[in-house]
Symmetry: D2
Amino acid sequence: MTLTAASQSGGHAPLLVPPPLAFDSLADRARDECAVFGVFGTPDAAAHTALGLHALQHRGQEATGIVAHDGERFNAHRGLGHVGKVFSSKSRDVMESLSGHAAIGHNRYSTTGAPNPRNVQPLFAELDLGGVALAHNGNLTNALALRHELIGQGCIFQSTTDTEVILHLMARTSGRVVERLTAALKQVVGAYSLVVLTKQKLIGVRDPYGVRPLVLGRRGDAYLLASETVALDIIGADLVREIEPGEMVIITEDGLESRKPFFPVAPRPCLFEYIYFARPDSIMAGRSVYEVRKAIGRELAVECPADADVVIPVPDSGVPAAMGFAEGAGLPFELGIIRNHYVGRTFIEPTQEIRRLGVRLKHNANSAVIKGKRVVLIDDSIVRGTTSVKIIEMVREAGAAEVHVRVASPPIRHPCFYGIDTPDRSDLLAARMSEEGMANFIDADSLGFVSLDGLYRALGEPEGRDPAHPKFLDHYFTGEYPIRLVDEEAGSRARQQLTLLREAG
Amino acid sequence: MTLTAASQSGGHAPLLVPPPLAFDSLADRARDECAVFGVFGTPDAAAHTALGLHALQHRGQEATGIVAHDGERFNAHRGLGHVGKVFSSKSRDVMESLSGHAAIGHNRYSTTGAPNPRNVQPLFAELDLGGVALAHNGNLTNALALRHELIGQGCIFQSTTDTEVILHLMARTSGRVVERLTAALKQVVGAYSLVVLTKQKLIGVRDPYGVRPLVLGRRGDAYLLASETVALDIIGADLVREIEPGEMVIITEDGLESRKPFFPVAPRPCLFEYIYFARPDSIMAGRSVYEVRKAIGRELAVECPADADVVIPVPDSGVPAAMGFAEGAGLPFELGIIRNHYVGRTFIEPTQEIRRLGVRLKHNANSAVIKGKRVVLIDDSIVRGTTSVKIIEMVREAGAAEVHVRVASPPIRHPCFYGIDTPDRSDLLAARMSEEGMANFIDADSLGFVSLDGLYRALGEPEGRDPAHPKFLDHYFTGEYPIRLVDEEAGSRARQQLTLLREAG
Amino acid sequence: MTLTAASQSGGHAPLLVPPPLAFDSLADRARDECAVFGVFGTPDAAAHTALGLHALQHRGQEATGIVAHDGERFNAHRGLGHVGKVFSSKSRDVMESLSGHAAIGHNRYSTTGAPNPRNVQPLFAELDLGGVALAHNGNLTNALALRHELIGQGCIFQSTTDTEVILHLMARTSGRVVERLTAALKQVVGAYSLVVLTKQKLIGVRDPYGVRPLVLGRRGDAYLLASETVALDIIGADLVREIEPGEMVIITEDGLESRKPFFPVAPRPCLFEYIYFARPDSIMAGRSVYEVRKAIGRELAVECPADADVVIPVPDSGVPAAMGFAEGAGLPFELGIIRNHYVGRTFIEPTQEIRRLGVRLKHNANSAVIKGKRVVLIDDSIVRGTTSVKIIEMVREAGAAEVHVRVASPPIRHPCFYGIDTPDRSDLLAARMSEEGMANFIDADSLGFVSLDGLYRALGEPEGRDPAHPKFLDHYFTGEYPIRLVDEEAGSRARQQLTLLREAG
Amino acid sequence: MTLTAASQSGGHAPLLVPPPLAFDSLADRARDECAVFGVFGTPDAAAHTALGLHALQHRGQEATGIVAHDGERFNAHRGLGHVGKVFSSKSRDVMESLSGHAAIGHNRYSTTGAPNPRNVQPLFAELDLGGVALAHNGNLTNALALRHELIGQGCIFQSTTDTEVILHLMARTSGRVVERLTAALKQVVGAYSLVVLTKQKLIGVRDPYGVRPLVLGRRGDAYLLASETVALDIIGADLVREIEPGEMVIITEDGLESRKPFFPVAPRPCLFEYIYFARPDSIMAGRSVYEVRKAIGRELAVECPADADVVIPVPDSGVPAAMGFAEGAGLPFELGIIRNHYVGRTFIEPTQEIRRLGVRLKHNANSAVIKGKRVVLIDDSIVRGTTSVKIIEMVREAGAAEVHVRVASPPIRHPCFYGIDTPDRSDLLAARMSEEGMANFIDADSLGFVSLDGLYRALGEPEGRDPAHPKFLDHYFTGEYPIRLVDEEAGSRARQQLTLLREAG
């Protein structure tokens, strides 16, 4: 259903090298989905940022941080855990210390293992021209190459994030901050939506392909930048527009200035934002994510119909697609699986004997609507397939007569290197076996995926995908990587350890 | 939507006394919705109990505890917070210390203020016949009277729970444990579903009216007791049957024995379990809670139709009723409000200026399905009405043309004294104003409640409520309290402080 | 040097039964050295109490607590750890919540194992006549017998302390609080210095033998009670006098009333307060503890001279006796062992290989004054002898030519049951072997103990100990127990488990 | 008694500028007394380091850290608080993660305010030639100048320590690690004893003046480096010799190599190590610190005799000097002030009314040896004089007839810039008033300081101080700063903020 695995490497067609071990154990931190937020021109900048980050919590739960500027000095608070914990009412002093009219913030994706506090963003550096704070959503594909080059020039890195190379590149050029940032970004390759805070400016940038989202909002005199529109909703701000791919906006006391400093390319925003990552109540590029998901469900009903009694979603991400499928198929929609919202990460490990029976810490079958029925089960995606196996087993035990699985995305056969944590190619179910094999593996009576063209149609492209000029980033399905994978291609160099230091506890 | 207020007192028609202050500040802890679980005859009794309590987390989030018996000795672990925190994988030692074949557990309802660790259940006492652990869901209505009487006889109470009187009554009689428990329960008045653990027995009891639920399960050779069937599902146990109102089951190595030691009365299980408390995937008295809620929605569509474009629920509790209403009314069902599942209790307090705009920490309007539409908004109940005001304001700001509120329960005009935390009568919106006044107050274009008869019909009583022999507990709507309110009637006596000691921090 | 072992039992001559296992594991908590403090008549009662407890920290480091009365209600704060941690500046709210003109407090001795929060004193009970808080230094020798009797009568105990029986005895009699306390104390046997707080009274009591100390102080209009005079010094209060053995003082708004409700006996205050427990700057029964310790050293120099070059103490408790010895012997006094004051309880366990070499986490030899010298090493006492072995090995490794050990107390051959934690008799070195054997065991060139008569002389009894009427409690040396050991004599009854419940974590 | 103030600046004769504000608030962290430790060639390198740091705890209590190398990778653990807390038995995993045959560690001085975790040493950097960990005792006097220069060249600093400039200087040169370290140290000015760990080497360096101590030890095949000999004692290692001023030792598998890469100067080790900082059981440059302190006391008795009855030390640092004074003066030595060893930093703030009376959280007068006596009070030094005022008031209240203060160091009139935290010159009592004025201020009947010549004599220089070639660092008394104060002289440049970022919480 989701892309949550911890590590990634090798994988796409031209390489097929075995996963480098040292890289593996660190990549889970260097490459992840995240959220950014920034605001300029309001006395409660940090409180707005905390609220915005809370609305964006789904994009990253490992860590969060805010840097504010009070006119004199930068003030930071960064910590591990949810926004509501790091910026809790208990830490009144913290919020008071984050005074000022401008602030930026960041949520970091949840991964396994002990995270390094030095990686919590926003990163901060003191350059000769003053302080610079920076928060990044996306992933740079030449970060390791640049890092090694910069270390060779005498730079000392404080984190293992790819983001830090941008600061070092800025530190080593001359000119004013906007010029330096532009020069730095011209050297990086990859996906990035950035917010940058200096003494007098809030800057937002989106990479030329527009891989990760970034929107511009307004509330009174204040400008805001956020990964998704829901972060504007929570503080009653209005959506002005999306930051365009390749655009840099510079917000100062004098207002907003827009630049397009990069060589223009055809934008390719990430499809997975629509399929899974973004909140359903977000508006992306003018499209309601909720409506897109329903439309995918309707396409799926047409492409892969099922002779069944009831349509049930894998909650919560599968709900809109299931509603669309039910509508398209003329079948009843029911909540056949109930999600327990109290799941924590550290619950006791059940005994082997219980685990074997299929522990349902997170989901429970609602047998009242399943028993004796031929069920269509709608999931947003299949990655490793292990969750599907357990869900289908549970649905069968609750008495389903048949289980027909329909998936609201095409088969995922290739890993992502642009900011989504996917497993190794060898762990992707669709890369390992045919659709028939997959159906057997997960024990489904039938299995169907929406086609890539169907997906494009649901996004408003009536002709489907134009292979010559595809409008979205879809390498997970096609293996086509439009942005160069510098570190991946480097082979042995990329396999070097990212750090020699391991911090305990 | 929910009965969550912290205090209660006075209130029902015959009394109308002003709320006694000292009582007020403590009643929030003495009277609340909770969950109980017990298991006998499996080597992983405590792990099963932890899983069962996790499935019952919705019934109480303030605190949780387990007492297990290892054949020699009782072992306990009790703490504040969620089950997943108190029994986390970090506390491996804890689970190892809770070895043995029998265990009971308890979840406690979340209230405001600093809770007292001495109140965390299961309670334990060492009687002359051995140790007794006890967990209680419900509320005793003569607990204060008994407490004062017992203190007068030289008893020293360690908690401020109503539950502790049962232990003292047991300590002061003679005989074996079952006889003592029976004798003690014959002296208490009120609602209770209890699980009791002794060296050789697991005992389950439900009060004669069967106010709170309690089910019996089986898994291999082990018997289980739980507040709801979902706690059986999570460990793959089968539902045997409900414990009957007034029934006591005694589980030992020799099997299960059933007794009916109390004077029989016509059962009156609590309606609010169906309306709000129970999980939708639970089965209560043979009824699917999910299906009951959908049926209430259908009744509501018939009784209070609305000329509208779309039906949207207040999530998550309003979802099944909204689906039933949409089905009954032939209108589309849409997720017009998206819930943020990351809400914590301690988030920073937003500034006054932001609070005024209506902070959406928990809910956000999905404008794509609301804008320009005539909306039917389905909520499970209206208590104070303050949440409704904010939700409707949010839906209007998202562009709704009209907002017609339909409520899946009758107007709540009377407080509960049997285990549900309701506000003072003076804070109940339906006790303060007419339905028209309520519609104005919450700014709804129209407002409709399901009738009491409609509610009974949805529960399978085609004739509706029989005033002579009502089948459910419905005093919140009618003011009819079938179980005597001894402490309430006592007036000044009940107004005495429950404790003279306040524990800091 | 110290009586710090965790368990005790059996042991004295008439019994010689093997140590009962269940009792063993709990006795470490039921019997320990502690501190009490009380104040009445000052607006900062709790702050004074916290300071007083801080000055008495040496008497108990496991836990501490304060109960204050604000005129309306009792307010408590009790926690595990040092006074400076439990009542730290971080917990400003805590101190504010402990408002009022009267308060009592308690320090609890540090033992191994996880302590039970329910045992942290002051204990509190709500009787029919109102609340009673109570703090106890000493040990009751019939607590188990009374506990079993009270449980048989229907009492439920909340702690495993011996102290709680006093509250239950008070709860089960009639009359006013002073009468009840008197009646309760007439039923207990053992050693106790108590402070008791009720709504209107602060009461101090010392058992008829005056085993544990208790002094009365005055500061302005406020009266104070404390285990030692140093707790008066820290808040600038004056010492009025000692509470006399068998005396009860009742302090109210109207002043102080003294009663002598018990059958008079010849007082026997504990010798070990002078030898080791009390702070050297305390005044006990008119004697400076520091001067007494120096006088013991002088006696020792006369009784057990040594042909040596230098006198060095085992710090810190051996310092005054070493100064006295040096003075008496005409030898130089030097700090030959330096103590590290940063020792914490939870430091990493060194590897076996390092432990074998003798880890010096706490002490280091000052070789500059030891090398090549014939050393007299002064310790306050020898219990198990294991510490002596390590100290002497360290002194030898630092180059001492000879090591002559002189001990400022007679050989300890019998356990204590009146409030001092001593090991089993079988673990007392002096009970296991002759003085010559001891010298070999600890590898001393010679070993000498002060005589019992010498000890009495140092305390101002020129004739030494009068065997017919000994003035101090000295059973550790003589095996003579003047207060009946009811639980010990009961044999099998006393061996019953104190509790059936074990609380995890 | 001690040099513990938080800030320093301006002050020495040639400058006399007002204290720069921004510098003030940060200097307390950049300049402090610390401890270093290193070991190479033992399987338990990290455990040895933890023990060594524990023995050196007196040199720094704010924070501590260890970096070990396991042959493959560096492993670090660094945290705020005492060694026994950061490396406690609870953190077994931590010690296991710090495996390997080589490790270095650091203790950081305790200061007020919230310390920044990024400043906790050892610092670590990943250079192109591999990882380098570094721990530093001392203070660089041109760190700000170098920092600004390096930032101008594009370096990004992660801490606000002066130490970090060494890493950046190493990163920006070429060659092998020893060459780079040498080149870096040739650019820094100031005091430093360093331990450096690389993949294959442990390096120790002491600045040419030998300001801070550093000793070489051996235990079996392992070499050790430590600030004081007590860190060798705790693990049973032997002292080989002192690292010489200006010496660099390079320890590898092949043994130890010594270099003298710096221009030779006449050594000037810091006098305050003897007066106050070092532990009395340490051996420094062949001298027993304990014996030196006694000798100072004897000099003081000759130079400033007093007509008195008893000599008492301010514990613990004044004890040896008091013993020497008593010996020299033929007066009795008594413990007239008792120190409470349980003092914590966060105890409740007493009310104003109590504070006025002189709270004795740390010290109490032992009135038994003071009352009616003419007292000589021995302290190691007078800095601000505020502590002296309180101590003398306490001694008078305990009944002293006269109080004659004798100080075991000359008057401190100038701040330190080489690694000791001293207050502003304007806060140094001896810089503000005459000796007569000081006696009045602290309310002493007479006041005497040992002369500078007397101090040199006690250190084994029979002729006293040779003004042409003084053998020790003594600028606190003379205002003569042999090592250039580059940042201080820079005036306005040094007044720039060290960082623009303030981290909350």
